[in-house]
């Protein structure tokens, strides 16, 4: 390994996660998001978890969330209908921080 430009999934692959399969800590309402023209979430999520699907619809996967809260602050049209921290001991585990 050496230093190179890395994709977001590549970087997230280095991190340790305990994914809560039962409960999503962030929930997105795609109907609201469909009407959002700006979609700042596409650019501001450091983990690039907000993407556009084949038909231009917003897709989101909470599994690689770094729990920074940027999407929550930036979501203008309230398409994020729930934003909580993951349940205790779930989510990202920073080994360096």
């Amino acid at each position: 390994m050496s230093i190179d430009r890395m994709t977001a999934p590549g970087l997230l692959g280095l991190d340790s996660f305990t994914v809560d399969e039962e409960k999503a800590h962030i929930v997105v309402n795609k109907e609201i998001c469909a009407k959002c023209a700006e979609k700042p979430c596409l650019y501001v999520c450091p983990a690039v978890l907000y993407k556009l699907g084949k038909n231009g619809e917003l897709t989101f996967d909470y599994a690689g969330c770094l729990e920074c809260g940027t999407c929550r602050v930036m979501c203008k049209n309230k398409g994020i209908i729930k934003w909580e921290y993951p349940r205790g001991s779930f989510g990202v585990n920073f080994r360096c921080g």
């Binding site: 390994m1 050496s2 230093i3 190179d4 430009r5 890395m6 977001a8 970087l11 997230l12 280095l14 991190d15 305990t18 700006e38 700042p40 596409l42 650019y43 501001v44 999520c45 450091p46 983990a47 690039v48 770094l66 729990e67 920074c68 809260g69 940027t70 929550r72 602050v73 930036m74 909580e84 921290y85 993951p86 349940r87 205790g88 001991s89 989510g91 990202v92 585990n93 920073f94 080994r95 360096c96 921080g97």
Partner: protein, 429 residues
């Protein structure tokens, strides 16, 4: 409910603010419980970063000597990037690290530091539960009297919100509204592993010495900057900028950071290393004016990042030291208050006594200086142009310095009026 089941204080979050508060309370014989949502304290936390040592020594004399810290910062650097050019300014001042006194600051990694500090609080007598998230506050007769965590209800005279920048607790208590996008920066960071010998060679460090570098001109003109800190066996490289700026540019934060990493002046420092972690975190950017109007209500106080205690001057960033100070202040308020209603006002007084509020107040004008948009692209370009002009020797006669420099200002689109405006802002510092 019996008196035995009630804590003097419940601290939400085992970061530097929460653990410093619990440490001080436990030392005074108070019954204190820390509730941390991570499995181990520090596992949810991210810093740039560095810790200014005085805060740890205020918590307890000589505490830093055994703390889980990385390198004492001996080399202070500011680097401006423009295209493939780089201007680096370095200060080495032995007075910052004199024999016989505490080094001024250390680089730090939070997984190890927070774990260490929480452990210190525990050894002092605080109870610590981990892997538990506090879901709700319990309110009775307008007072906060406890918390709900999973199935359990826990009661205390005072609930201490030390739950970080996205303070869900302070929001639930009705003290702060949603964070405003213009008041936060988003930080991303890679930890790049390198042997300590190589780090020391590349940064001209002796064993145990470290460099802290602020970077300007690496954010595509977006309000923000980069940072680089040398740890014992890794380098923390990252950048922080306004998410609003990235959204407007329609440029991914992740992409901008990868560009910084591959800049030739940065790449040569991390070459051959291996990235072992990628992290992200919000940073409160509004300084004094971003502090919520009310940091307490009966039975409840807000600390650290949750209270917006961050100072960004552009050349230094402080947060962990302020978090520790606020933890000490809150603990002293709890210890000295005769009744619960006195804790909040006493906390505000203690924040003044530990000089946190006055320091934040004094650094407030930096916010206006840093609002200057051309600092983030034109200024680093200008710096690279000026130094390139100064150091160019080609055998030609060349232009006279004054008109050449005026020409460079003009070329970069910086007017004398722009400089004057910045001067006015700077005059308030």
């Amino acid at each position: 409910m019996s008196g035995e089941d009630k804590f003097d204080a419940i601290v939400v979050g085992a970061g530097p603010a929460g653990s410093a508060c619990a440490y001080t309370l436990a030392k005074a014989g108070k019954e204190v419980l820390i509730i941390e949502r991570g499995d181990i304290p520090g596992r949810k936390n991210v810093t740039g970063g560095r810790l200014y040592t005085y805060a740890l020594d205020l918590l307890d004399e000589g505490l830093h000597e055994k703390a889980a810290l990385e390198r004492k910062v001996t080399h202070e650097q500011i680097m401006m990037l423009s295209g493939d050019r780089a201007v680096n300014i370095e200060l080495v001042n032995p007075a910052f690290n004199q024999e016989g006194s505490s080094p001024m600051s250390y680089t730090v990694l939070r997984a190890s530091f927070d774990k260490w500090l929480a452990n210190k609080a525990e050894k002092m007598g605080a109870a610590l539960v981990t892997g538990i998230k506090v879901d709700e506050l319990i309110e009775r007769d307008g007072k906060i009297v406890g918390v709900v965590a999973g199935e359990d209800q826990l009661f205390a005279d005072v609930v201490v919100a030390a739950d970080g920048v996205n303070s869900i607790m302070a929001q639930k208590a009705g003290l702060i509204p949603d964070l405003k996008m213009e008041n936060v920066g988003v930080g991303v960071k890679e930890i790049i592993e390198l042997p300590s010998k190589i780090i020391e060679e590349r940064f001209n460090l002796k064993e145990g010495e470290g460099a802290a570098r602020m970077l300007l001109g690496c954010t595509e003109g977006i309000h923000g900057g980069g940072f680089l800190y040398t740890n014992k066996e890794s380098i923390s490289l990252g950048c922080v900028f306004t998410p609003e700026g990235a959204a407007k540019k329609k440029k991914s934060i992740h992409e901008i950071f990868q560009d910084l990493k591959m800049h030739p002046a940065i790449y040569q420092l991390i070459e051959g290393g291996e990235t072992i972690e990628y992290s992200a975190h919000l940073v409160s950017e509004a300084g004094y004016r971003g502090i919520p109007k009310q940091l307490h209500r009966e039975g409840f106080v807000v600390l650290g990042d949750a209270a917006g205690f961050v100072i960004n001057t552009g050349y230094s960033i402080r947060g962990i030291d302020l978090a520790i100070l606020s933890g000490i202040a809150a603990a002293r308020a709890v210890i000295n208050a005769a009744k619960t209603a006195d804790v909040g006002p006493a906390y505000m007084e203690e924040l003044n006594k530990v000089r946190l509020m006055p320091t934040m107040n004094q650094t407030d004008p930096f916010f206006d200086v840093l609002e200057t948009p051309w600092l983030y692209d034109k200024a680093p370009n200008l710096a690279a142009d000026i130094f390139s002009y100064l150091f160019t020797v080609s055998g030609d006669v060349g232009g006279k310095m004054r008109p050449e420099l005026m020409g460079l200002l003009k070329k970069n689109g910086i007017s004398l009026w722009d400089l004057t405006k910045l001067g006015f802002k700077g005059a308030k510092l």
